[in-house]
Assembly symmetry: C2
Homo-oligomer: 315 residues x 2
């Protein structure tokens, strides 16, 4: 199923450049961590929603709701913990260090001074300057690689490339799969070529299921990586059982369960050892701060455990 999905998908633009950037990034950060105490690795963070085009020359598409807030915030905390981050994100979604921006107009944030210098109102100055400083640092130190997608086709091809590129990192690699991925799609070859005409009454559509790539990531692309996936539901009654089913089915290390109604306030980390509820302490804090802290700790223990089990392999 997966092979036919990839065969039929339109090829990624810039595939060779992306492959080169990825190989260089992974090579630069291979061997991060590996000493005692808290270890830092390489994490692939996915963020934002994927789209499903309904026409080949795309005017209409199905989209999954996601601002990218979770992925952008988490990337900041992974960088703070010393990780190198491959950020696979939806074009136009929230970016690390830019989450505080006014929603629609960056010029709302700026004024011109008397000498035509660019000024930020006192109320925002500290936040803006810290953001510019942290972002520059991550870029200048080569700790952040950003790879954009729009469609489900682009997203899954990027995930495959990053998965196979990170395989050589073994258990020091982490996947943090926060993107909202489409469950249904229209196969490329059966898609309307031109804009669907609206004149002739109601529209009937049949959508196929997207192959479950988590399974392939786990089995083929990067089987040793520490894997964290997300389960979002609107109905709290089915959330935790679905998260536990996903944990078993795909062999995840952690499934983070969250509800649409309060996903910024509370998440539940579901593992084979039980559940841990994480709440943000106040509206000024991010729930991701404590979540990433716990995950980094778990990843670190996981690496040390595996290093002890396989001492002959790793020493």
């Amino acid at each position: 199923v997966a092979e036919s999905f990839f065969r039929a998908a339109p090829p990624l633009r810039d595939r060779d450049r992306v492959a080169g950037d990825l190989a260089a990034f992974v090579a630069r950060h291979a061997g991060r961590g590996g000493g005692g105490g808290r270890l830092a690795g390489v994490v692939c963070v996915t963020s934002g929603g994927t789209t499903v085009p309904l026409e080949q020359r795309c005017v209409r598409y199905i989209d999954n709701f996601s601002s990218g807030q979770r992925g952008a915030a988490s990337t900041e905390y992974f960088l703070k913990a010393g990780y190198a981050v491959i950020f696979i994100y939806r074009r136009g979604s929230k970016q690390p260090y830019c989450r505080f921006l006014p929603e629609d107009s960056f010029v709302d944030l700026f004024e011109l001074g008397e000498e035509s210098d660019i000024q930020v109102p006192e109320s925002h100055a500290a936040v803006v300057k810290t953001a510019i400083r942290n972002y520059r640092k991550a870029i200048d130190e080569g700790l952040l690689l950003k790879l954009p997608f729009t469609t489900i086709f682009e997203y899954l091809q990027l995930l495959q490339m990053v998965g196979t590129a990170m395989n050589c990192l073994g258990h020091q690699g982490m996947f943090y799969l926060a993107a909202a991925v489409s469950d249904f799609y229209v196969p490329w070859e059966s898609m309307a070529k031109h804009k669907i005409e609206s004149a002739s009454g109601p529209l009937n559509m049949q959508l196929n299921q997207v192959p479950k790539m988590l399974f392939i990531l786990r089995k083929q692309w990067a089987p040793s990586a520490f894997c964290v996936s997300f389960k979002l539901e609107t109905d709290p009654d089915i959330l935790l059982q679905k998260a536990e089913a996903a944990l078993r089915k795909y062999g995840m290390n952690v499934v983070v369960a969250n509800e649409l109604a309060n996903y910024k306030d509370v998440v539940v980390m579901v593992t084979s050892n039980g559940r841990t509820t994480v709440r943000r302490p106040s509206k000024e804090d991010d729930v991701e701060e404590q979540l990433i802290d716990l995950l980094v700790e778990m990843h670190s223990e996981h690496i040390m455990q595996l290093n002890q089990d396989h001492q002959t392999c790793t020493s």
Copy 2:
């Protein structure tokens, strides 16, 4: 059909505040233009694509492709021509005076100087400063009112409010309907309450046609306004005939025809007097500059013509 659409739609948040802002804006600018020569009026610019939710607690939705580039650029040129602009735009789409921004990360544009002052690289400094200056001027002089939408329900409610509020401006009002509006939707009352389950095979959806609100705008909400609508197609063979059909069917003053493949380079203005092709002179120019120039001229002639025809009414 339209009444049942509005009855079933979820009510607009902030409806009362928006109504107040609108009434004040229109009152402030009523009577703009009306002298001899080139007249300036009030224009409602719609911009960006509308979404159609597939679930009441919305995780998935159908979206229409539109960056908002056309509407944002046109707003700048209308302001330059002296118009007051009501900008109805999709949240997150391109904004007037911010079109030059890096696509995904505003911090890519800024650096910190030695004294932690915010700096823009020399290459971008002039553009950024002009943008901040022009935007501030439009806001400070009260010439720009911005009203955001996401769903087709919000968009059509806003259009109705602006249409009826602008009716008192008579033929000095203009509508420039550049938004990409959904043709199909799922009626709110028949929509799934929770996220659609993906476990049980392919998904079948039936979508209804959105009522043609251009017709109602023209007949009821603001019958005297100068009305410009857009027709976007991917198939050039049917574009102009569809534009002419729309001109007749909805009684538009102008239909601007454009193709997805080259909408930034060339448009065709279709009127009852014939067709005018507008091309941008170079990659450094906007096709909207000449387009707005021609439309402002036509609107101005239209007003003078009507003033002559109905001298007793307007003097």
